[in-house]
Structure formats: C-alpha cells, structure tokens
Point group: C2
Amino acid sequence: MPIEWAGSGPGLLLSLDRQGPEPLRSQLEGLLREAIRTGRLGVGERLPSSREMARELGLSRGLVQECYGQLQAEGYLSTQVGSATRVAAGAGISPAAPAPRPRPARLIADFASGVPDLAGFPRGDWLWALREASRTAPTAAFDYGDPHGSSLLREVLAAYLGRVRAAAADPERTVICSGFAQGLNLVLRALADGGVRKVAFEDPGYTETAAAACAAADVETVPVPVDAYGIDVDALEATGARAVVLTPAHQWPTGVVLAPERRLALVRWATRHDATIVEDDYDAEFRYDREPVGALQGLAADRVAAIGTVSKSLAPAMRLGWILCPPALADTVAELKLRQDRGSPELDQLALAALMESGRYDRHLRRMRVLYAQRRTALVESLAEHAPEVRLTGLAAGFHAVAHLPEGADEQSVIAAARERSVGLYGMSTHRSSGATDPAQLVLGFGNLGERPIREGIAAVAGILRGEREAAPAPE
Amino acid sequence: MPIEWAGSGPGLLLSLDRQGPEPLRSQLEGLLREAIRTGRLGVGERLPSSREMARELGLSRGLVQECYGQLQAEGYLSTQVGSATRVAAGAGISPAAPAPRPRPARLIADFASGVPDLAGFPRGDWLWALREASRTAPTAAFDYGDPHGSSLLREVLAAYLGRVRAAAADPERTVICSGFAQGLNLVLRALADGGVRKVAFEDPGYTETAAAACAAADVETVPVPVDAYGIDVDALEATGARAVVLTPAHQWPTGVVLAPERRLALVRWATRHDATIVEDDYDAEFRYDREPVGALQGLAADRVAAIGTVSKSLAPAMRLGWILCPPALADTVAELKLRQDRGSPELDQLALAALMESGRYDRHLRRMRVLYAQRRTALVESLAEHAPEVRLTGLAAGFHAVAHLPEGADEQSVIAAARERSVGLYGMSTHRSSGATDPAQLVLGFGNLGERPIREGIAAVAGILRGEREAAPAPE
C-alpha cells in the first residue's frame, strides 16, 4: 500500500514494499533517487528531518539517517550542520527515453547476402567446445591475454589453414581479432602507421565498408575495376596505391575467381612497389565445382595480410577472426589490437581451437556445404524455370550469386516492385563506386534462405520481370 | 619411405605417406607448395612432365595433372601451352620465424594490480549460463547484432546497475563493449567527433592508458591532481578541458573516494561547460566498510558516460563491458562500435544476462568479497606485524592499496631489491604524470594473491626496508 507523505515541500509518494525481498533502506534510497532524478523532488527542496521521515514511513530513525547519509555521499542530497537536508544543486533530471525504433516488415524471401544459415549454427558442438575449453583452460587463461590471441588457437589455425587453405600461417605472426571489420581496421591502421596513404579496393566491392575503414585509418581509398579474371592489376599499378584489399577466392560481390596470371601479377606488383595485399578469405570453405583455390597468402606470405573469420562458416554473432600478418605488420597489428580492446575473449578462442582440433568444425562445414549446394540448385532451377532470360554468375563458391537482368530491365524498379511483394532484393549498384545501375544486376544471397522461399521469391521476381516487359513501350 | 626423384632440375625429395589418412593428391600438393615456399624449388625451375612425375612417384597421371592444375590456379606454377610446367615468378620464399620470446621469471609474490582472483572464476556457473543462452537464443541471435549489443543484456544491466550501483541506466543508451579499454576508446572518439580537443585525467591515474587512448582519438590529455577528496575540481576547471575521465568510487590508484561536495562540483562544472564526465566504475562491487557509493552516472545521467566491465568481477579474459552513454553520445558510440568490430559476441552477452538474472552473479560477488576481505586482512596484519612504519591507504574497496614507505625510503631501490627476492612490487611513480618517485609509495594489488604469498611477500619487503634503514648513513 502506498504511504502518503506530505510535509515540507510538495507531496511525495513513497511506496515501500514490506513483504518484498529488497531491504527497506535500499527501497527508500531507490525511491528518493528516482524522485530526484525525475524532478519530483526539485533542486534545493527541503526533506523532512530523519525523525519526521521515520515516523511518516514507520521506519527506524537510524535507517532513515543511513539512507540520507548514503544519498549525501552520492551527491543527491546536501546537509549543512544544523540545517535541513536538501536536494543538492546539480542532482539533475534525466531526459526522457527516445521513441522505440520501427521494426522492418517481414519478408517472404530476403535475398540479403553475407549471412550464412543461422539455424544451422552447431549449438551442441559449440557448447561441447566451450565445455572442453573451460575444463582444460589453465587459471592464467582468465587473465588479460597475449594481444596476438590464444597461442593454442593460433597453432591450431596455422595447421588448419595450411591444410584447408594452403596458407603459410605462422602462429607468431597471427593475430586473433573479432572478424573482418576489425581485421581490416587494424591492418589499415598498421599500414597507415607505416606510411601508406592510398589503399585500393575492388570495384565493385564492399564500397561502404572500405570507405568507413579507410576514413578511420586516415588513408585515401581508390577503386580498381574487376573484370572476368578478377582485379585489373595494370589499373591497380596506375593508381600508385601501396596496398590493395581483395577477395581472390570468390570476388565479393561478382563471384569471379582471381585468375592464376593475375595472382602472379599481383605478387610481382606488391614486390616491386613494396606493397601489401590484404586478402579477404571470406567464404572459400564453400566451393562447389572443385577444390577451393588456395589462399594467396600461401603464395607470398611476406606480402599478404590474410583476414579470415568464422562469420560465414559458423555465425556472424561469434565475432572471431584472424589476421595472418606479413612480418612487417605483425607487431604493429598486435599492438593496435591491444590498445583497441585488449584482445578477444579467451574462452571463445579456446573453444574454437577445440572445435577445429576435434574435427567437429570440418564436419559442420561438410554438412553446410551440402545445404548450400541444395539452395544453390534451388536458385538455379527456379530461375531456369521462371526466368530463363536471367543469367547467373559467380556460383563457384559461397552462398551468393549475381543475376544479370535482361536488357531494358531497371534495377531500382525491380527492387522496389519486389519489396511491394515482400521480397528483399539488392542491386549491384550499391557495390559500384560509381553507383551506376547499368548493367542491371542483382546480388542474390541464399545462405540463410530455405529452398522454398528461394523458389517463391524467384517466381515473384520472374513475375515482376514479365510485368516490366509487358509494360515497357514496344520498340519503334 | 622417402621416394627420391632426380630428373630435370635439382634433386627433389618428395615423401608420400601411403598409409596415412591424407589423400595422396593433397600430400603431393602440400609437398610442392612447401618446396616452392622454402626455395627448394626456385622460380622458373622446370617441373617434370605429369607423365614423368607420375611414373617416378607411382601415382596416376590424372592425379598429377590435377595437382599441377590446382597449383597453377593458386599461382605456384605456370604452364604455357606446349611448354613445360615451371615454378611461377613471384612464388616466393617466406622468411624464417622469429625466435621465441623469453618468459618472465616466476615470483613468490606478485603485487601487480588490476587482476582479480583468477582461480575464483566461476567456470561452472559460466558454463551453465552459456548453456542457458544457447538453449534460449532465437536463431536471429546468431546474425550480426545490434551495434548497441544484446537488448536482453542491456535491459538486465539497466536493472542490475540501478539496483547495485544506483545508476540511471537506459537500455537504449547503453552500448555493450569489450571492456574499459574499448569503452574509453569509443567514448574519446565520440567526444572528439563532437569537437572536444582536450580531455583531463586524474593524476596519479592510469597515465599510459590515457596517453595511448587520447593519441588514438587525436585529443590532448591533461593531468589534474587528486587529493584526499578526489580530483581537484578547481584545477580541472582551470585546464579548459571539455571532458574528464575519473574513478569516483575508488580512485585508481590512490583509492580515495570522491567526496560528496566534489561530486556536486563536478556535475556543476560539467553543466556549466557542456562537458562530459567519463566514469570508470571498475571495482565498486567490492566495498568493505559500508555500502558502495552509487555511481556518479546516477546523479547526472545526461552528463556522465559510465564505463563498467566484468574484468574485475569475473575475469579480464571475458572481454565484456558496457558504456552508459549520455544522450549526446549514444548514437555516435554505437556507430563507432559498429565500424570498429561490428559488436561483441552475442552468446557471451546472453550468458552474462542469464548469469545476472539468475542471481549467480551476485552470489559470486558475495563469495569474492569474502575472499578479498581475507586477503586485505592478511595484508594489513602482516604489514602491522613486520613493517608497522608503513601506512596503508585506499583500502575501502577493491583489491589494491597504497603503501606509504617510511621517510627516506627510495621507491625504485625497494622495488629492485624486492625483485631480487622474487617479489613483484610496483611504484606509484609510474602512475604520476611527472614520474616523481617522491613521496615513495607502492601500489599493492592483492586480488590474485593468496594469503600466504601476501604474508611472505610483505615479510620480504619489511626485511628490505630494515636493510635500507640500516645501510642508510646516520643523520648528522
């Protein structure tokens, strides 16, 4: 029952719960703080004496005194000797909370890229690995760690990446990070520290990420065109950039694989200009037609900084990745990681090491490869059935593809019409540095999309394309 | 048994393991990559034809062709039509690994500060919490998350910090981060974005951390003296700084508690100058003599950015913390967190929420408070017994204290002598902006040190102090 108290100052409602688990003193403090914060008790306002307050509320005077003392120590109240206790000047009103953000509408099929099958996250295996990590971790593992990351994980990764990605990983030059975004940040800053002023990116590519990361590292970004063989190395050379960020195994977003002669030309370029190649090896685990092409890093470990993560292989929410650093960058990258966040969580690192060593990671990847291959087939088949005029490329690996819209189709209006039918489509234009919507292409992600929504979504898109064609003025 | 092959080019040793689990093709690829990387096969060197190689090694020609094709795709080999396969130009030699770093010597007692009892980490409770998190997390929790962090954790934290720290936490303005280092980084960058150019720090304080963080955010750092009542607000005002970073509940490293009038003066200062108070609430959970003083943030939520972590309450290796942002900073801080690392690991966040909600976190803190109180007693008692001339201050909270060495004692020589006896001591001078070694004080951490090493370490220190006194020239 609320207890009404009206004494000196305006009426104040203090409702104590005498049956609840919270001590009365703590309740009273909380209520008074709240009243001061919200302005119900204004600055300078006089509180009743502890004797009065105790009588009003049916509490002991000692309890009220302790409570006043605590709030005075915290700066909410002020007491001068021989004078009343008042609300202290400065004890303020906190502003109202902002309105909640609107939630996006639900889609029947969202072809967003870059997200793996989230339901496929191996919860049981991961818990097993965490249990193993927790069981076997020495006490010292709970301290601040080596800024390079767990030495166990770095060793396991070196062996794993050597075997699976033909990388030449050296645990001493590996730095564990929270994923690609942080990895890129750290490498760009380390390059900037070393005097690099201009960094090239693939075009189309991850334009926005690149711009933000380069701005944070205070380096200039310059786009370099990608053709059917990957990045144009002559164009790269012409930019004068001292570093390039690229996705050799499966170019993001076009999906082309960097051609062998381009790989070699890149390494020659890097050697000639004392330049660094930053390799984003984001989805190479999922290659369908043949064994994945080994990491560029393995070919030129002293020129390549390779960034990898488990964001695609396990889940983005893991926030675990690694940087295989060239010798010139390793110490700076580790130092920057130390300053930025003092390392990644140790138990997660140890758990990933256990997952990899036990073979559970490989097993999970095999399972997911089958799943993505099925979804890929669903995409190919439903396009062939409903919209055979749409060509698909970039399907050698990963879980996205590029759909080339037929002549005359407008990227933006197809996307808008699809959204009307609750289908999420994404255009290539946002990945082009020019923002050009021509040629009209869609980047179709199918990692986190079941076969049924894929087929339904593609059928809807086909309907839109038919509608566009019929609505279009007949050629003169 | 190794198979010797000597054909065109220098002798090459390729040892295939025909009984092992690794497919022969993968073995052959690995051996060739390794030979190229290490320079055993030099650039331009001709490889035997696939037919010759197959015969020499007793493999099928198709297998060797596949292997050559793979290495060609990866850039290790190059093949011109009608010409031999050669080691590609650019396929390079990776440099030798650096020598392993020397390990620090083992100490009988290390009074390093800032580390809690690592053996006390509640492994069982944490695994329980991870299991709960994994069991209850929706599928979407495995995607990239809200850059503010898990909404569940932010709600649990708001309730927890309101109850335990009298904070006025608003989940919408809370950003989960990886700990104090990252929290400070993000807040300083957000302040710099908002035009702040000069940031004040407590002196003594965490001088090096401050300097590094300010350098990274490109703001000037200015030290402000701390006296027995905490930071000198008049001196702060005189600096013209628009932000101050401080430790009100238990000043690092002096251990003084910010006096009520200083708290109010600070809030008035911040209001008058549109300034921001960055509150580091690092060990307030462990207060021994009375209830901890509430967070300054609760008093002025629109002026204070409060950074908290579980580095002291659970373990540094967790890498989880939070920032209660004032309205003006909240969006920028979240945006910076997004760019820096795209958020902290979601399962860890959900597990911390479960740990707090279940009461296990409180129970752990109560257990640890008892442990630290015992160690604190051991420190006080052994100093009283062995070196009564050494005064201890800053013991109201946390797990470090300041030892005031007797007149004439030299901080650096006491530290050096202690190191000789395998006792790790740390001077106040490293925390002073001036680096002054006078007055001679030690910062004694006892969080991760058992009662026995505390007593042994203090006995050794007392012996050193006696030795110094006896060796010192008698006053004239």
